[in-house]
Subunit: 424 residues, 2 copies
């Protein structure tokens, strides 16, 4: 650690991480009412600071073209009074959610009289790396603090002035409500090397959550010395089984593919049972026509819809995030399961069926975070699952899988109560 004297950036990162670590020990035992007061007060201060925040946001907006942001990205960056109200109301919503900390997960008495309870506790310090959307700054801080974790926020440089103004409100609210001010740390430097330095500080940081493109997540996973909650791509499938209600299948496919194309729970690959393909594929073409979806079909499916682009092996593993859908004819449910377990990114996969055996086989054997029967893939989402808040959707199987809300940012400990028991 003597390297820090010679390296001001490392000294800065160490200081931020140490402060967060120190705050996390205090925060772990802060009661729910105090955390909720912080959330409410933060919301108030955000509302009251609309002018400062909009002014800071204006600086980011002025710099945005120099970062090469697209008009859509610039729009997502913009904060006005209405959007700020949405941000502060989201904090109020999180205040209303149950506190995961202290939840008793299990409890029992041993034959020797020992009483054992398994109690939910915070993880400690979360290092959160995210894209340039200032609303995420408030949202992530709220989720971390409510679950008892200190947070180090590393946002995109494109939103640094907006995020910094928001964080100032959150930190002031902390000082006013009994939450350690150091519990919300914002990385003020835009130096890219800072990320690498934080990733080496597993002594102080308990988990890293990177949100952004695949290359960022891969880099973080490779460099991090602490656990990482990863959010990779979603190559999501819908399988139309032969007993499916075909109108329902069309509704679900249209919704899964077209409601929002650029998201991880959008449909990318369609499997159709061979017994219904001849009837269904023309219906599908007509339903998707207005959405201008390019269909890429397997050989068998192109005998039915020759106008489809031939799908290549590579298509089955692709997450298009756009107006393309691969289509494959499948001879039975077992083949559909095998295809999905092989090509899916294990995010969200759905079956449309009226057959109980097929439905049971699918939900049991498909190894994905969410396995859906007769509903849109778009439902794999913390909000839709009723979590109230979400910091990401994990594609890992370890620790947290699927939507990550408050509970997914916790660990547990065993409390063992006795009256003098010793081990024989």
């Amino acid at each position: 650690m003597n390297a820090s004297a010679a390296n001001p950036l490392l000294a800065y990162c160490l200081d931020v991480a140490r402060r967060a670590d120190g705050a996390s020990a205090e925060l772990a035992i802060v009661d729910t009412a105090t955390k909720n007061r912080w959330l409410s007060r933060s919301a108030e201060l955000l509302d009251e600071s609309v002018e400062e925040i909009v002014a800071a946001n204006r600086k980011d907006l002025e710099l945005a073209p120099s970062y090469g942001l697209t008009p859509a990205a610039i729009d997502r960056l913009r904060i006005d009074r209405e959007r700020l109200t949405a941000i502060s109301n989201a904090m109020r919503d999180i205040a209303r959610l149950p506190d995961p900390v202290g939840e008793v997960l299990d409890g029992y008495k041993r034959p020797n009289g020992l009483e054992i309870t398994k109690v939910r506790v915070p993880l400690g310090v979360v290092f959160f790396i995210y894209e340039s959307r200032p609303n995420v700054t408030a949202d992530a801080a709220a989720i971390c603090i409510k679950s008892g974790n200190a947070v180090i926020l590393r946002g995109g440089k494109e939103a640094i002035h907006s995020s910094s103004a928001i964080v100032k409100c959150l930190q002031n609210a902390a000082s006013q409500t009994g939450i350690p001010r150091d519990a919300v740390q914002f990385v003020e430097t835009t130096d890219r090397d800072a990320v690498g330095l934080f990733l080496g500080l597993d002594k102080f940081i308990d988990v890293t959550i990177p949100r952004g493109g695949e290359s960022l997540i891969r880099r973080v996973a490779a460099e991090a010395t602490m656990p990482v909650i990863k959010h990779f791509d979603g190559n999501c499938h819908v399988y139309v089984e032969k007993s499916a209600d075909l109108e329902m299948a069309l509704d679900i496919i249209e919704n899964s593919k077209c409601q929002r194309m650029g998201v991880c729970n959008a449909l990318e690959s369609l499997l159709v049972h061979e017994e219904v393909a001849t009837k269904f594929l023309p219906m599908l073409r007509d339903r998707l026509a207005s959405h201008k979806i390019e269909l890429r079909g397997c050989e068998a499916s192109r005998l039915i819809l020759p106008e489809m682009v031939p799908a290549t092996e590579e298509d089955w593993g692709r997450e298009y995030l756009g107006p393309v859908l691969s289509v494959k004819i499948i001879s039975n449910t077992l083949s559909a399961i095998e295809h999905i377990n092989h090509y899916s990114s294990h995010h969200t996969d759905a079956i449309i069926t009226n057959d109980l055996i097929a439905s049971r086989a699918f939900t049991q054997a498909v190894d994905s975070a969410a396995v859906v029967v007769n509903a849109s893939t778009r439902f794999n989402d913390g909000g839709e699952f009723g979590f109230g808040a979400e910091i990401g959707i994990s594609t890992d199987k370890f620790h947290a899988r699927g939507p990550c809300g408050l509970r997914e940012l916790t660990s547990y400990k065993y409390v063992v109560q006795g009256n003098g028991q010793i081990r024989k």
Copy 2:
């Protein structure tokens, strides 16, 4: 992966990992009765193969001196009829444990009618690296298969003949009972480079569990591309609060320190409230005298027992795993909590008290896998917690903390059932 052609060892590791991965998909949906039949049949085959196994064990025993094993280690390596019966009975015990796979962890209905269940599923493939104790081979395989995971067993070279003979029984039992034979993989090579190669195969291996010395665990944690369940040291504390029943404190300290000194849940550091120190420390000295424990005291404690060795700063962080105990006088419970949270390895820490406020403060604020009130630290153990079986004790906070039994080797998935719901 073309490297495998030029590297026979990599080709071997890839083959082992691919087979395990293939088997894990089958194993994930095998029913409980089949897994239990495999456990019972394995136990029978072990019993029936006593002569082959003892003969294989004899080869290991003959080679043991050339590996520099101590007489104690050689004794742990030895298998006779009685010890083999203990091994096979342990497998029968695991057959009687509840199957974690399929357990519904949560379930609810959303306002739109979607029914969501959170269901326990296996992790997939476990890479288990362990010391040279042949009984662990059978035990680890039993825990992994019962929890629906395929396992790659990498045991110490000192037990390779014994372990190999045991694995043959387990694999034959698999073929006879409908468990994929490839679900139990045994690394036949003793080449140390194999471990490094397996640690790069995160495509096929879902978690690595290293058991052994700290340097092995650090190496695995640094090299592994997949998650690791780590089992670091236990610097365990007992804090004698001023209201403690001092006789109870002596019993608990003697048991925590002396019942088995070389284990991770043994006591290493004692904190004594200043108000009871003058009375208690001489009692402690007398109680521990017959065990020949070296006491290393802080300055204040040496005013009471001058014969104690002076403790240095380094002593507070040490895991002695032997007949040494550090002793520190503490002025209040808050200081005890701070000392423990600073120096403890967060494994097991206990308070002896009759004061409710002190007890509550301690259990809430001490951040350790097991926080114990008025009982021995030695109870932090899967068997003592009633898990029935244990593959290790995690010192991580992520995924699994404390004893790891069947449930700690699982993940979960969400099953979402609808009747045509689409997202608005």
